[in-house]
């Protein structure tokens, strides 16, 4: 009975040693990385005997030798970016190609001067005390081998630092593009987003990939939402069909902070999203929403956690899946209500639409409640396209294929309709609709 795969760990250890020699790091970061690689060496890649990975087989990742993605000319990425749902969105952006900041493709023109949006690597080199204080404070490396691996290889990514009492009119957009080469490669994007008290911001994180060979994007995003601040966070995973995508997103909320996160998973051969909102101050509100659209042999695993640590917090969760072909999906929604978190109000729902008889979804709520005065509800549904609705549309002259994609997109719309920033909402709806039209 083994719960870990360790056969290619040495490859990562070797890369780690090269990184240590190549990139000079301040002592605090060197120590952080060392502890993380030790965690990773101890944990290994999970097998399906590990309860947290029961329905997701990480062996294809563990058994592939991924080399660090090489630096490449960023210019070819331009053409690919033009096809992304956010191509025409006029907002401050950082673009990373194969894990490195591509300054030419980035633009911070319309950004308020008080806001810091920059390369995390640069911020570390500049000796930022904010980064030292917050980095790796929220994401857990002790239990999650992928987060540990990311932390061991922290080199670049984005820092967003929004001061107190500032309302940003436009979203900040972080885009990671992978141009896959002939050999399997890996990047470890790392983002740190700090939102000072009484501020309001929208952050979009996008992942796109091009090329036919395998690659792994192993990302970690840590977000600290300050007291009474409001964050809207949208993540779009649009990796190529041969990609692996593992991501840990951890949102930490102070008193009265509100976070609304939407995870949109459209691509990748195998994707695992670990998304957590930790309500660590009274009066906080967290929303974790998600949509996954799968076809072929794609596999997406959404593991979410709503961690209520303080009283009088509310959380809402709606994840919807559209699964076609032989695709498989996993939804595991954990709600933790800690002893101190009285008056917690939490609602979770996972709804799935199976478009083929061979598609599978494993959905599981997981409630750990240690307080006695709480409201927690959860529910899950798995269904097919409503035959009566389909007939209704067809009886009015709408063709069968169009009627099916109309109903399927409508199923997705109530998640996307909750995104507040209207241009983003419309672009995402189009992206989902296009994605559905392609697989129809």
């Amino acid at each position: 009975m083994t719960t870990a795969i360790k056969e290619h760990q040495d490859v990562y250890l070797q890369s780690f040693r090269q990184l240590e020699q190549r990139a000079k790091a301040p002592e605090w970061l060197a120590r952080l990385r060392r502890e993380a690689i030790e965690s990773f060496m101890e944990l290994g890649f999970p097998t399906t005997r590990n309860e947290e990975w029961k329905y997701t087989n990480a062996a294809p990742i563990a058994r592939t030798v991924f080399e660090p993605a090489p630096a490449v000319a960023a210019a070819p990425a331009v053409e690919f970016m033009a096809k992304s749902p956010f191509a025409e969105m006029d907002c401050p952006r950082l673009v990373f190609v194969n894990g490195r900041l591509a300054a030419d493709l980035s633009s911070l023109d319309s950004l308020a001067a008080e806001v810091k949006v920059m390369s995390l690597g640069k911020a570390i080199a500049d000796g930022s005390s904010q980064v030292e204080e917050h980095l790796a404070r929220y994401a857990d490396c002790a239990a999650n081998p992928f987060a540990a691996l990311n932390t061991a290889f922290i080199e670049d990514g984005a820092l967003i630092d929004i001061p107190k009492r500032l309302e940003l009119a436009k979203p900040i957009y972080l885009l990671y593009v992978t141009l896959a080469g002939p050999k399997p490669t890996v990047t470890h994007p790392r983002n740190l987003i700090l939102i000072g008290g009484e501020s309001q911001a929208t952050v979009i994180e996008g992942y796109l990939g091009f090329g036919d060979s395998a690659y792994l994007t192993n990302a970690v995003t840590e977000i600290a939402v300050g007291e009474n601040s409001i964050l809207e966070y949208v993540k779009l995973e649009g990796e190529s069909a041969t990609a692996f995508h593992t991501a840990t997103v951890k949102i930490h909320q102070a008193r009265n902070a509100s976070a609304h996160a939407t995870t949109v998973a459209l691509g990748a051969r195998l994707a695992r999203e670990d998304t957590t909102a930790a309500l660590d101050g009274e009066g906080g509100e967290a929303t974790l929403n998600g949509i996954y659209v799968l076809t072929g042999e794609q596999h997406v695993d959404n593991h979410t956690t709503l961690d209520h640590a303080r009283p009088h917090c509310a959380s809402r969760e709606l994840y919807k899946g559209i699964l076609d072909g032989k695709s498989t999906g996993v939804f595991n929604g954990k709600i933790i209500v800690r002893p101190d978190a009285q008056k917690t109000d939490s609602k979770q729902s996972n709804k799935n639409l199976l478009l083929s008889e061979e598609a599978t979804i494993n959905t599981k709520p997981q409630l750990e409640i240690y307080a006695d005065d709480v409201k927690c509800t959860h529910g899950a549904t798995v269904g097919q396209i409503d035959a009566e609705a389909l007939f209704y549309l067809r009886s009015r002259g709408i063709g069968q294929l169009e009627a099916r994609s109309l109903l399927t997109a409508a199923f997705a719309n109530d998640v996307l309709d909750k995104i507040k920033y209207s241009r983003l909402r419309e672009r995402l709806k189009e992206a989902v609709f296009e994605r559905l039209a392609r697989s129809a």
Binding site: D386, A387, R396, G397, G399
Partner: protein
């Protein structure tokens, strides 16, 4: 004849519901099909619209010279067949406007006409909304979601007014309507009466026929048309009840 039904038999599962229907509807005519619950009225309407839960086992249906039973539901609609549903379906996430414009454009495209953009569409539907006393807010809401019973039925007739079918089948459009809503629906249907359009009104009650006066009345019982006549037959039924006819049929059987 616009529609000719010959010896139509249909079942759902092992249960035969239509047991040999014969009916001919000429262009411009309004036919009422009446009958008690379970007589097969709604089944007939749904079979004509192409609902596939019913299996046609025998007989033929010719519409405008074509074999209707071979056509997909969307092709029937594009060729001018429209059924107003007894129970209109709610479709969350699809706005009424989007839905109806997609339907109209699918039909227009089929006839080689240019598709309408949002502006042209709105101009076209405005008068028809007024005719059926439809609130504009109903257009932006998801199809039938949260509509009252009366709003749903008006929405069906509104769709009919926009799509301008050649053959309209109204499946118990009057059931559950109060008298005011009934009058509005009847006004919408009467405005659609024309020499170029045939209407089949399926109803349980005679009341609707005071407002939509039919040219012919047929009584459906146990999967067969047992009596046909003029509009006076509806009044006779109103006085004597369906039992009178069923007894007569049983007596001759």
């Amino acid at each position: 004849m616009l529609l000719e039904i010959k010896n139509l038999r249909a079942k759902v599962g092992a249960n035969e519901i239509l047991k040999g229907i014969n009916l001919a509807v000429g262009l411009g005519e309004v036919h009422a099909i009446m009958g008690p619950n379970g007589s097969g009225k709604s089944t007939l309407a749904q079979v004509l619209a192409g609902r596939d839960v019913y299996a046609v086992t025998e007989g033929e249906v010719t519409y405008a010279g074509k074999n209707l039973l071979e056509m997909a539901p969307e092709d029937r609609a594009r060729e001018g067949v429209f059924m107003a549903f007894q129970y209109p379906v709610e479709i969350p996430g699809v706005s009424n406007t989007y839905f109806l414009r997609a339907a109209l454009n699918a039909i227009r495209k089929h006839h080689g006409q240019e598709e309408l953009d949002a502006m042209d569409f709105l101009a076209l539907v405005r008068d028809k909304m007024k005719l059926l006393d439809m609130d504009e807010s109903l257009m932006t809401r998801p199809v039938n979601e949260g509509f009252s019973g009366g709003e749903k039925k008006r929405n069906e007739i509104f769709q009919m007014a926009v799509l301008e079918p050649k053959l309209a089948i109204l499946d118990e459009t009057d059931s559950g309507l109060d008298i005011d809503a009934l009058k509005i629906v009847a006004r919408g249907v009467n405005a659609m009466r024309s020499k170029e359009r045939s209407i089949i009104v399926v109803t349980h009650y005679q009341r609707l026929l005071n407002y939509i006066v039919p040219d012919f009345v047929h009584v459906l019982s146990n999967g067969r048309i047992v009596k046909s006549g003029s509009k006076d037959l509806a009044l006779e039924l109103e006085q004597k009840g369906y039992g009178w006819l069923e007894d007569a049929v049983n007596a001759t059987a």
